[in-house]
Symmetry: D2
Subunit: 464 residues, 4 copies
Amino acid sequence: MGGVVMSENIHDLTIAYIGGGSRGWAWGLMRDLAAAEGIGGTVALYDIDQAAAGQNALIGNRLSRKTGASWTYRAEASLEGALGGADFVIISILPGTFAEMASDVHAPEAYGVYQSVGDSVGPGGVIRAMRTLPMYEVIAQAIERSCPDGWVINYTNPMAACVGCLYRVFPGIKAIGCCHEVFGAQHLLCEMLDVLEGVRAERCELETNVLGVNHYTVIDRASWRGLDLSGLIARFAERYWATGYTPPGQEDYRENPFTYAHRVKLDMYKRYGVLGAAGDRHLAEFFPNPWYLGSAENAASWTFGLTPVSWRIRDLEDRLARAGRLASGQEELDLTPTGEEGVKQIKALLGLTPGFVTNVNLPNSGQFAGMPGGAIVETNAYISKDSIKPIFSGSQPAALAAVTRRHCENQLAMSQAAALRDGKLAFEVFCNEPALGGLSMPDLRALFDTTTKNTAEYLKDWKF
Amino acid sequence: MGGVVMSENIHDLTIAYIGGGSRGWAWGLMRDLAAAEGIGGTVALYDIDQAAAGQNALIGNRLSRKTGASWTYRAEASLEGALGGADFVIISILPGTFAEMASDVHAPEAYGVYQSVGDSVGPGGVIRAMRTLPMYEVIAQAIERSCPDGWVINYTNPMAACVGCLYRVFPGIKAIGCCHEVFGAQHLLCEMLDVLEGVRAERCELETNVLGVNHYTVIDRASWRGLDLSGLIARFAERYWATGYTPPGQEDYRENPFTYAHRVKLDMYKRYGVLGAAGDRHLAEFFPNPWYLGSAENAASWTFGLTPVSWRIRDLEDRLARAGRLASGQEELDLTPTGEEGVKQIKALLGLTPGFVTNVNLPNSGQFAGMPGGAIVETNAYISKDSIKPIFSGSQPAALAAVTRRHCENQLAMSQAAALRDGKLAFEVFCNEPALGGLSMPDLRALFDTTTKNTAEYLKDWKF
Amino acid sequence: MGGVVMSENIHDLTIAYIGGGSRGWAWGLMRDLAAAEGIGGTVALYDIDQAAAGQNALIGNRLSRKTGASWTYRAEASLEGALGGADFVIISILPGTFAEMASDVHAPEAYGVYQSVGDSVGPGGVIRAMRTLPMYEVIAQAIERSCPDGWVINYTNPMAACVGCLYRVFPGIKAIGCCHEVFGAQHLLCEMLDVLEGVRAERCELETNVLGVNHYTVIDRASWRGLDLSGLIARFAERYWATGYTPPGQEDYRENPFTYAHRVKLDMYKRYGVLGAAGDRHLAEFFPNPWYLGSAENAASWTFGLTPVSWRIRDLEDRLARAGRLASGQEELDLTPTGEEGVKQIKALLGLTPGFVTNVNLPNSGQFAGMPGGAIVETNAYISKDSIKPIFSGSQPAALAAVTRRHCENQLAMSQAAALRDGKLAFEVFCNEPALGGLSMPDLRALFDTTTKNTAEYLKDWKF
Amino acid sequence: MGGVVMSENIHDLTIAYIGGGSRGWAWGLMRDLAAAEGIGGTVALYDIDQAAAGQNALIGNRLSRKTGASWTYRAEASLEGALGGADFVIISILPGTFAEMASDVHAPEAYGVYQSVGDSVGPGGVIRAMRTLPMYEVIAQAIERSCPDGWVINYTNPMAACVGCLYRVFPGIKAIGCCHEVFGAQHLLCEMLDVLEGVRAERCELETNVLGVNHYTVIDRASWRGLDLSGLIARFAERYWATGYTPPGQEDYRENPFTYAHRVKLDMYKRYGVLGAAGDRHLAEFFPNPWYLGSAENAASWTFGLTPVSWRIRDLEDRLARAGRLASGQEELDLTPTGEEGVKQIKALLGLTPGFVTNVNLPNSGQFAGMPGGAIVETNAYISKDSIKPIFSGSQPAALAAVTRRHCENQLAMSQAAALRDGKLAFEVFCNEPALGGLSMPDLRALFDTTTKNTAEYLKDWKF
């Protein structure tokens, strides 16, 4: 269908951006929108930090003026003000502050439980979900009232829990969760082709079958331009399992906590026969803590590092400073594409481009065999004019499926806990997290008490 | 992915064609293969009419010489000879002769039950399945032994029963059923755009969501170049429901029994809210007989005709004569593409072209919500390098789903009857066919006895 | 557990009787309550015919005085007045009057469709459901508000549709549907033992596995005092299939339309291998009309008769006269037990007697394999202290299951139609009824229009 | 049905006892058979220790002579010799010797993982399953050949894995798993009535709803003679959670490792709201090791002890000596009933007594909501003439269900591992055991290697 001329340009779109004061994702969206042909309209930025949203409106409008893009940015003081009549809703919020995140991530270290990210599962993921899901209830209700036909794209973590909450509160919602972590694994496949075959491949030339839960997805079948990659992956794992592989020019994971040398991915391949398809720092958190995260050294031996929240705080300071420069015009946003697919999805949903296949997070309606209906899973889907349909992905190998099913059950139990604000049930979910399977009951209790107390401001209506 | 250069040409393929003596489908495949770039190899033609297969080998090789296509055709005397090492298996057989088909189609007329085709469901479909499924058992066993990794494309009717039999006998088979009937509905959508909007559209520019059982599929959502077609379909139905619509230049259904003026499709739209997506002569057979097929006049009032087997016999005579001319070189095959997608699928499965979405018949693994697991259903699927994955289609409206479920239950019961050669169960399936819901028990018994007797040669191991 | 002394007597029960003005079922309940040891309290009678409820209160209290039973009867003017704090709710209403019933049952005769009862499925069942389910919505809402913990026993037809409505509106309801039709089949098993073996057996000595939909249930396994009855049933069917069997002393079906000679039951056994387990006049209605009900003669040849509504009208006149005599003391209720199990169930639910197994109508949570979740099915259940748990019944033979599944799908579609007051969907359910599979579309439309018009007073908020 | 006289006595039964050389279970069965009225016949004892089977035949026949029971015991040298024509098959074997069991139970202690029994789940359960399931394949095949219609009662552990293997190999088997552990929880309910209410209750007077996996079952609803026990259990837990409860006259768990003071049961009640319904020493093993079994002291603080295999070895010596005395007549078997229900089940299956409800282990066909189909689960069932039908038990509370689901997934993955002799998959099941969630990957590997090596004689055809 490559040559089809699709429908006319659309210049009266409304995009609501919840968390629109962000110093990062928001700028990326601005860049991608500025580069997008054929669409324009208004972006309504909502953030509890109204000043940040206002600053971003300045930055966005400055970019439009500079690039000639037909996008107007405005800050909205209320959630419903931003959502009213939105064609698309983007949600990317930071639930709480770095103070709460520091507790989520680092408090468990006192019990020998390290976390490389702490935003999806494990103690950090559970506590973050407890804080976040009540906010998502409010958002879902507002969407139902203000723009029930709008497409909703979620980027916030914990991804599966957040998307699940949207569907629980408003079952008719048209929401997906999007995440670029699978892209990283696809880039690694390109690296494999380069290293072992001397071939330069592009991610978009790959066909991959994707199945899992966000940040813990795997690829069980891959081809490049019609070439089956099974043998290539096996050879790569054989060669690099023991040492890991760092692409030329990439910073070492000891310097940049967002990098890694893929040993966890390859270990999953070796044990389960399928390639891990998220960053190693995410994948590691889904397994029993002593496997990859029993200590900082343990993580380092698996060639990935921990992301201390202090790092994030320093990083935010840099970004705050940059926001000031961008708003005042001292600095300008570069215009290279982000590599995210949000705008590509928007255009396909509008029917401006042909349908395409990519991985998304959706309630399981059967696309991930062996997992419970309604759990939010990550598989391929076909995205076309006003339609996102999951593609059947089959099932994971039995050994891995048993671990995955456990995460799905925890996800569904957490959803129930959040719906009822049932702290007792949330504690049991906490106790059932793979990362915490080595803790005694008194330690589990103490850790849960500490971490919920540290985020107590956000848990006021929970019953314990 | 339009611009991706895929893997190298492949010139050592083996395609086994079961029913390779056909005077019709086989020539179409030859034309499409001759036009296909980048692939070549051997086509092994097997047919119980060995002379016909031999004649077709002559015709195929003549075409290769003329076009420079790198395909060699050979006739094989045994099923396993043809299947050995096949990369692809095409099955397109006539189960029995026109004598049996004449009984299937016309014997029920004595009871007021008319059939426009008689090959899928209803009395003709049931008796044909009884005759055909034992043949398919033999084929499935041979595939398991001779080419278990080959992709199998079935064209024989009853489609759902045949594909179901392949999977029942050899669960690891890589088989799909392909049928062009949905294409016809897509062409009608293009006609709608032309008639009501003055727009010339191509079928390949449409996005349609397809869900049903073969020859009884519907489209519940369609867009063209990003334009939602819901309103267009509603207006078209409003205008043409009462009269039907015959495209300019098309023969009238009173002259050519393969044409029709779409009243059944539009009636389904009016009643169920979704557009019938097979030929009207097929669709009509899935409903209670008095609705559309209580008499030849009843059918005519719905703007479609019956296909008498006498017509088929005359038509075959013409085609036999033509076969002689083609084999001897007196006549040449034209080279216009057939519009079938078989070769397109083969190329995508080989990884020579990017993945694409089309409708296929596959066991339900959840893609058709509300229908039983394992029933053969028709939905979209994504076809790429050595992979065919169904796309979730959602569910039909409740009123239609109740009818469809009944066909699925009958299909599964027929599968069980065939596996056990259980004529008693086959009779009950017969009695449960919508087409026969108005017959008394003595009439049902008499009709079943007559029609099974007329095909008794093929039912020797059935127990009644 | 036969000898266990259960908990103390309970004398402060409240039973709400919806439809408490009934001249039949209500008196039966009074008799059974009067005979029940260990329980007493209040029975609140509610009826839209308040005078009838008042008269029944007189009759009930008179009976209590006479028998020394500790039950007080009172008529309640409002539904919620009756339900407030009820421990048990009995629902047995006549939805509409005999005028509507006459249309339900007899209007289809103009189209060759006869009905022996017309209250469950077929045209009569569909129209009756359309009239009844909105009333059941009101009842279910009132139960949720007034006595959400009470046990609800429904006797009204269409049974499956009514129980389904209760659960749809108030998913937390503790409701079952009870029906004595299975008992009749069990009595026939006792007859078989008598006739073929000269053994006098009691119904309560049988073990039977029951599975189906109300009024269309079957028994696939039966034993008496440990004796497997498979062979006995086979011999009985062999001997009596052709002629039917009328127990000594039973009125002929030509005189009493509630009797029959069991040919339909035996025909089901012969065809499907399982014994029909409801009255023949009910069973026959679940199959295509020409099989057993194409004419009054057709029914007679199957040894059952039609129940004309004129018969019911005459019968009601007799019962009205009797009500006067009972209220005034001119006549007294006899005290023989009714054979119904309602009071037995109440006592087991109260924990006054040990748990026991009987057949009930409940949402399918898996007890009837092969049928959709949530459809109301009839299987055995274990009833004990505040608990009713269905017993797994397995699946029906494939041929019968296909018919049964169709009824379940229609039931679920009718539930959706009623929830939305969607007359268009109701019409499609009507068209999909086995009884009407022989009608042309114009006839279906005309019959639906006639029968809905005849009950239009009750369908005011339906959209067509 | 207490008063029903059931069918005649049956004196020609054949019972095959696999593991018939047992010094314990076998004697119990002999006692119960000797006391059973109305049945007699032959018991065929098969054991790989033929001498032990022969000795037991002597003991059994001596008992028959003494009591006048009509049972003849004979030792059979071959499995099929014992099974030929058996009406009932009892399986109670020790898979391997105490040497292997010592490794299963004690080797993990080096890694801080203690086990109180080590026969169901955890490292001991997995290794024992690897050793046992190949034996069960042989037994299931022999049953299919020799007595496919016989009822099979399994007592061997790991219960769920063994019963699952029987059904995997011979899907038509009529097998249940029976275990008395639930009875212990029912006795505790009687104790609660005694201690808190001063009432003497009998187990058979209780109604309990049972749902779980063997040795890890719970009771979510209980009544005694119609009295709801919810409040009683809550008060008991309140009073005894901290200290545990030892019934008067019971040995302390520090002296007898088979006793315990119920703290684990009560802890489950406190956390999940349902009462643990197996011995505490079993229940504890299903949770993460540090909760109840991080050390012998940890266990002791939960008022249960470990059962060292040395204790079992001493105990066996006593029993061997006793076997000699019993065989020679120096000692006689006492005749008190064992409290097991095997003989009661046999009589009900024969139709000699009315149907009754008890807990059994069966493949999940829906009776345990939320758990996968086919997993072996423990719920109530209704046992009657040649029929065992599970009773719907509902679902466990979400928090507990997540743990239970994990065990079911491991069970199914272990079944697959055993079918394929896939040691790699078995290792992953091992790693996914809750008891081992605190171990590092090198420790897991080392422990698996050690324990499989210690039982290597039985794992010859496994691939690692």
